[in-house]
């Protein structure tokens, strides 16, 4: 019996989640010649997740036009930009200039009426897992009955897909992200019992847990305390050092100019040159 277990004619293995590399590792570990590995992963979108194209820019937008309703006026028009991978870009402009609109269009929350968006050389559908959007705090139901850790673990869902439950590794990654944002001690607190700065840190921790390569941060420094501002600045620096691309919509550009490679100014839904 034990010999059969070690050397069966054909082995069928079911694996929940994991990318191609993980599967290869499992395959090698089994040392079986005839192993059939079923990857029980059902991603949320119809497309398979593609690996980023190393040659392509992180974000390439051409002639983008976006509006909130199908006939309404454009909130963003004729917008072009190319952001090389590994750079940090500041998106500067007054309220209503179209910063959030741009982010929402990039991550698929708003339909595109004109132009095209490519992320790491792929259309967004194939690269959901590589892009993360940090929404403004007000867009979340903070009275929902879950703990901080639960919320941050949600950053792993994109890798789990339908039916798979978060495992020990996902929780480990979430805890690590919380530690990085200095809020690990809040892990079991109900999300309604957080201050504004803590809410922001928890949301950034969720974005970190997703481990994306392109981060779109919408006003991460708006109305938060000094400690939070410092932590966010440190983490942004660390993210950039890891070779990730960061786009930050901000009011505070003058104070933190040195942190970005480039700034783009937006006004009334159009790029403007100062």
């Amino acid at each position: 019996m034990s010999r059969l277990w070690r050397d069966p004619a054909v082995a069928v293995i079911f694996v929940g989640g994991g990318n191609d590399n993980d599967l290869l590792k499992i395959y090698r570990k089994t040392c079986l010649t005839n192993a059939i590995i079923f990857n029980m992963k059902f991603p949320y979108c119809h497309h398979r997740h593609s690996t980023p194209d190393p040659q392509a820019p992180a974000l390439e937008i051409q002639g983008l036009g976006v509006s909130y309703s199908s006939e309404g006026k454009f909130a963003l028009r004729d917008f072009d930009i190319s952001v090389p991978a590994g750079s940090a870009l500041a998106l500067v402009g007054p309220n209503g200039a179209g910063k959030s609109t741009l982010f929402k269009a990039i991550c698929g929350l708003l339909p595109i009426r004109a132009g095209s968006i490519r992320v790491f050389g792929h259309p967004l559908d194939a690269c959901h897992h590589r892009v993360v959007y940090l929404p403004q705090r007000s867009e979340i139901d903070w009275y929902f009955p879950i703990s901080v850790l639960d919320l941050v673990v949600m950053g792993r869902y994109v890798y789990l897909g339908w039916f798979n439950r978060p495992g020990r590794r996902d929780i480990e990654i979430a805890r690590h992200a919380l530690k990085e944002m200095n809020v690990l001690d809040l892990a079991h607190r109900q999300i309604s019992k957080l201050s504004g700065g803590q809410q922001q840190r928890v949301l950034i921790a969720r974005a970190l847990a997703q481990n994306a390569d392109l981060l779109l941060l919408d006003e991460p420094l708006n109305a938060v305390d000094v400690t939070t501002r410092q932590t966010v600045a440190e983490v942004l620096h660390k993210i950039k050092a890891q070779g990730k691309t960061v786009i930050v919509a901000t009011h505070y550009y003058a104070q933190e100019e040195g942190r970005y490679d480039k700034a783009v100014y937006l006004k009334d839904g159009q790029k403007c040159i100062i």
Binding site: H128, H129, Y133, I146, Y157, W162, Q190, Q210
Partner: protein, 273 residues
């Protein structure tokens, strides 16, 4: 003790209790997401919209279940469809459509001149559950609860942060319609117990009471199931001993549980200060 065991000698009471437990669990489990997604008003709309379906099925001699189900599903999809025009606000529709459907149902009833049936349609008659009804209730509940279990993780994310759910590629529109569809199923099951007018109460009150007592989603679901089952059984006993209308008794029992939970929370908070 025999006060508790006496009613069990009747088969119709046994059936009613079994139905009450299943309906309670289903209503509370789905009700949790209905309340947390701020859809309590939609539940209200769907429950009232079942009436014309019930009446038409009754007049045609068809299955009341099927009639109610068709009417609620059509209403749910209809509201979703009409709300696509930005000039018609969804909450206006949700306030408007059930009134129209309800009036249509009453209009149909007034042509039949049978008010006994009207009463059980409006306020439910769990003591009159037949074996066929019971099997249907079990089937619908089993399917709904399995779906709820399989998609628990996604429903959780969809409720707390629908935008994030969309950015990672979840079909949020499809999920919204899915919740509406299962809400229709639940409403149709609940109508058997407490009728069109009161079903929404069974969806919402136990969940509201549970929300007062816990900050954990899992605990909240279990608690609201317990509350719903308790109020359903309690209502049946009330109805047995005092001859009160079963549906109304169930809802009043749920309200009592809510009141107790509220007072408990009030005292707990007061002490904590």
């Amino acid at each position: 003790m025999h006060y508790l065991t006496d009613p069990f000698q009747y088969q119709f009471i046994q059936r009613a209790i079994v139905a009450a437990v299943i309906i309670g669990v289903l209503c509370a489990a789905l009700g949790t997401f209905v309340v947390l997604r701020r859809m309590a008003v939609v539940g209200h709309a769907l429950t009232h919209s079942a009436l014309p379906g019930l009446v038409i099925a009754y007049l045609m001699g068809a299955s009341l279940f099927a009639g109610a189900l068709i009417a609620t599903v059509l209403t749910a999809l209809g509201i979703g469809f009409l709300a696509r025009d930005e000039n018609v606000y969804e909450d206006t529709l949700v306030g408007m459509v059930p009134n129209i459907m309800f009036a249509f149902g009453i209009l149909l009833i007034s042509t039949t001149k049978s008010f006994r049936d009207l009463f059980s349609m409006l306020f439910g008659n769990i003591l009159g559950v037949t074996d066929v009804d019971l099997h249907l209730i079990m089937l619908i509940s089993a399917v709904s609860l399995i779906v709820l279990f399989l998609f628990y993780k996604e429903l959780k994310l969809f409720s707390v942060d629908p935008n994030y759910a969309k950015t990672i590629g979840m079909p949020v529109k499809f999920m919204h319609y899915g919740i509406l569809l299962f809400l229709s199923f639940t409403v149709v099951v609940g109508i058997q117990a407490v009728g069109t007018v009161l079903t929404n109460a069974l969806l919402v009150i136990p969940v509201a009471a549970a929300r007062l007592l816990t900050d954990r989603l899992g605990v909240m679901m279990v608690l609201s199931c317990i509350f719903a089952v308790l109020s359903a059984i309690g209502g049946i006993y009330l109805s047995y001993y005092f001859g009160s209308a079963s549906g109304a008794s169930i809802v009043m029992f749920a309200a009592l549980i809510f009141a107790v939970a509220w007072v408990y929370k009030f005292i707990y908070d007061y002490k904590a200060k």
